[in-house]
């Protein structure tokens, strides 16, 4: 159905180690524009490592494999080049930046990305409008924008702030790394609603989660199960429900008994 399109993200046989310990052992994944993918899996399966490697974190060693983003070799790009190309990672643990206000941070980020893409800095009015709309979407007050980035934010505010940044920066692909963890049900709905309403502006999502509950609100086209550094199973959204019902232990025994080659395209 998407043969005419170029894939947005292609991961081929990716092997990654950290401190001599191999974490990813051959990941394949292809995401086309207009698709929502979810990766599920137990703790320690390599989900967050995959997210970090895609965002450009430097303390990982790429042992093997290739990654293309929008036709470009992603692994050759710096984190800021990836951001400029339209890749966004919502952090599982957002970082505090004391002394830098949200407004300064967002404007600097947006203008650096625009600069990389040969665009003029955004005018103040358009910028403020965009930021206020984003804050409204995430149900964060305007005073939130005066505060230092993530400093003194509650866990839920930090997660919503990640999505607010996504709404302002408008990437092509957003990777949400356990954005649902630590959110109460109301906050979860706010985040899901924002993610859904931005879909379109943002071409594709890769949602990394331990639990199925976020997927009640954001409907994935594809669900992948990661286990021991590989995608061991892919399916549609019913796979998430199956996982939820059977738990990850089911997967553990399955993987041990049958060596199933991972399939990423359906």
């Amino acid at each position: 159905m998407h043969n005419a399109k170029q894939p947005l993200l292609t991961i081929e046989n990716l092997h990654v180690a950290v401190d001599d310990k191999q974490i990813l052992k051959g990941v394949d994944l292809t995401i086309y524009p207009g698709e929502i993918h979810a990766i599920m899996g137990p703790n320690g399966s390599g989900k967050s490592t995959l997210a970090a490697v895609l965002a450009g974190r430097e303390d990982y060693t790429i042992l093997q494999g290739r990654v293309f983003f929008d036709g470009k070799d992603l692994l050759e790009m710096s984190p800021e080049e990836r951001a400029a190309a339209g890749l966004f990672l919502a952090f599982q643990y957002p970082v505090e930046i004391p002394g830098v206000s949200m407004l300064t941070f967002l404007r600097t980020a947006l203008n650096e990305i625009r600069k990389s893409n040969g665009e003029e800095p955004i005018d103040t009015r358009t910028f403020l409008q965009r930021v206020r709309e984003a804050a409204q979407l995430l149900e964060l007050g305007n005073d939130f924008l005066q505060r230092a980035v993530n400093v003194g934010f509650s866990g839920g505010e930090k997660k919503r702030n990640e999505i607010l940044q996504m709404a302002v920066l408008r990437p092509k692909l957003a990777i949400l790394d356990e954005t649902d963890s630590g959110l109460d049900i109301d906050a979860l709905k706010i985040v899901a609603n924002a993610v859904n309403s931005l879909f379109g502006t943002i071409q594709s999502y890769l949602i990394i989660t331990h639990y199925q509950r976020l997927l009640n609100y954001i409907e994935p086209d594809y669900v992948h199960v990661m286990y021991d550094g590989k995608i061991v199973r892919s399916g549609d959204k019913t796979l998430a429900l199956e996982l939820e019902a059977k738990g990850y232990d089911w997967l553990r025994s399955e993987t041990l008994s049958s060596i199933e080659l991972p399939s990423t395209t359906t």
Binding site: S78, E80, A83, V95, P98, T108, E112, Q165, L169
Partner: protein, 457 residues
């Protein structure tokens, strides 16, 4: 003078003092307090000499490279035709050019009495009550016995100013030393400042040299009295050039409900030693000390502070930060003394440092001595590097590494001066420091500050 061999650094400067004491009559020596102070200074220097790293209080600052030059004291009647535009604000200029007071730059100001020390001295006889009362005399707060540079300052006592603030001045007082000379110059200045009851003033103490080739060494001693409910903001600007060296010794004595707020911005002068002490002598006095060093090349900043709580219900708060690159060195030594009678003291101190190179050095030492029991006293010191997690986070949002570095360093530094009154001066300091940070992280010169929108605070 036998112990002050002229071959030792700076000691050749003392010959005129020596001569003046030789030629003075016994009666003059007995009745002229300034001659007595010079003699005390000479005697103290003869005993101790100039400090070396063997002295505990000067352990990490080796003065040898800075004092070895063939310095000369100001001579002649050099005059500055007009005040160079350095700061973006209008001020009351109390300016010294090549070490000599420039009274013509100063128009009479309501509520501020400025007296030239040299004029008092040259008049020959004076009772030494610098600011009208015995307790406000030069030498009452800082004696030559306290410190070798106070001794040297006393021995060379000549130029300086007495400032008496009796009503709130409408503008900040610009207490500045400006030099321009082909020869190494030694500028020895003495200040005595008194704020009368209920007055408020801002004083900027600025050291500038327009010399490109020869160094200027400043030895500045300031004694400051804050009377009841007076309020002083004192800003030390030390963001000049590498040829500008300075040793600044400052003591503030505070009475009831007086407030002092000090800002020390060190970012450019080749070597600066600040020995700053505050005595909270009466109840409910408050002091706040802010210091920021942004250092590169081989610059050295040495901040020694001492806060003495001598009365109940006083408050002191200290925040010193440094960013140290290349082979630069920052030293912080912060003493807090809480005397037995100083119950209900609140005293806070923190010192945070970021090292940007393997060769940069930071020494930090809090020293707290508490002899009262009902006291709230906290201190903390950190030395670290740029937080790489934060740099990565910013990069994933599209900021190039250098921009991320500058943004983080700027935020770290700005905490020290964001409360500074006089918005145009604060903005000017911010701009100067931002440019310096850009240089330090080696950002391409075509980057404009405005890109980062720092000013939107």
């Amino acid at each position: 003078m036998t112990n002050l061999q002229e071959t030792k650094p700076l000691m050749h400067l003392l010959s005129a003092t020596f001569d003046s004491l030789q030629s003075a009559t016994p009666e003059q020596l007995e009745h002229n307090p300034f001659l007595q102070l010079r003699k005390q200074g000479l005697d103290a220097l003869a005993r101790t000499g100039l400090p070396t790293p063997r002295d505990e209080e000067w352990k990490y600052l080796n003065l040898a490279p800075y004092i070895r030059h063939p310095y000369q004291l100001p001579a002649g009647k050099e005059s500055l035709s007009h005040l160079p535009q350095i700061l973006p604000i209008t001020t009351i200029p109390v300016v010294f050019f090549n070490g000599l007071f420039q009274p013509h730059l100063l128009s009479p100001v309501h509520g501020v009495t400025v007296t030239s020390l040299a004029q008092l001295l040259d008049r020959g006889s004076h009772d030494g009550t610098a600011l009208g009362e015995q307790e406000h005399s030069i030498g009452q707060l800082l004696s030559p016995e306290d410190d070798p540079f106070v001794a040297l300052n006393a021995a060379l006592l000549h130029q300086g100013a007495l400032l008496h603030i009796t009503q709130n001045p409408s503008q900040p007082i610009y207490l500045a030393s400006i030099t321009q000379s082909d020869q190494p110059l030694f500028v020895n200045l003495r200040f005595a400042i008194r704020l009368s009851t209920g007055t408020a003033a801002t004083i900027i103490l600025d050291l500038r040299t327009l010399s490109k080739t020869a160094p200027t060494f400043h030895n500045i001693v300031s004694e400051i009295w804050l009377e009841t409910e007076s309020a002083l903001t004192l800003i030390f600007l030390q963001n000049d050039t590498a040829q500008n060296y300075g040793v600044l010794t400052t003591r503030i004595a505070q009475t009831a409900r007086s407030r002092s707020r000090l800002y020390t911005i060190t970012a450019g002068n080749g070597m600066v030693r600040n020995t700053t002490s505050v005595q909270l002598n009466e109840p409910e006095a408050e002091t706040v000390l802010y210091g920021l060093s942004v250092l590169r090349d081989t610059e050295v900043a040495d901040h020694h502070t001492a806060v003495e709580h001598l009365a109940p219900n006083c408050q002191s708060s200290e925040l010193y930060k440094s960013i140290v690159a290349d082979q630069a060195t920052n030293i912080f030594n912060g003493k807090i003394f809480v005397h037995p009678e100083a119950q209900q003291t609140n005293a806070y101190q923190s010192n945070h440092n970021i090292l940007l190179s393997d060769d940069a050095q930071v020494y930090t030492k809090p020293q707290l001595e508490i002899f009262a029991d009902d006291v709230r006293c906290t201190h903390g010191a950190t030395v670290g590097q740029l937080p790489q997690e934060a740099v990565f986070y910013l990069r994933t949002r599209g900021l190039p590494e250098t921009v991320a570095d500058v943004l983080l360093l700027h935020a770290f530094a700005a905490e020290v001066y964001e409360q500074l009154p006089l918005e145009p001066l604060r903005a000017w300091i911010d701009q100067q420091l931002s440019h310096r940070l850009f240089d330090i992280v080696d950002l391409a010169a075509d980057r404009k500050l405005v890109d980062l929108q720092f000013a939107t605070s």
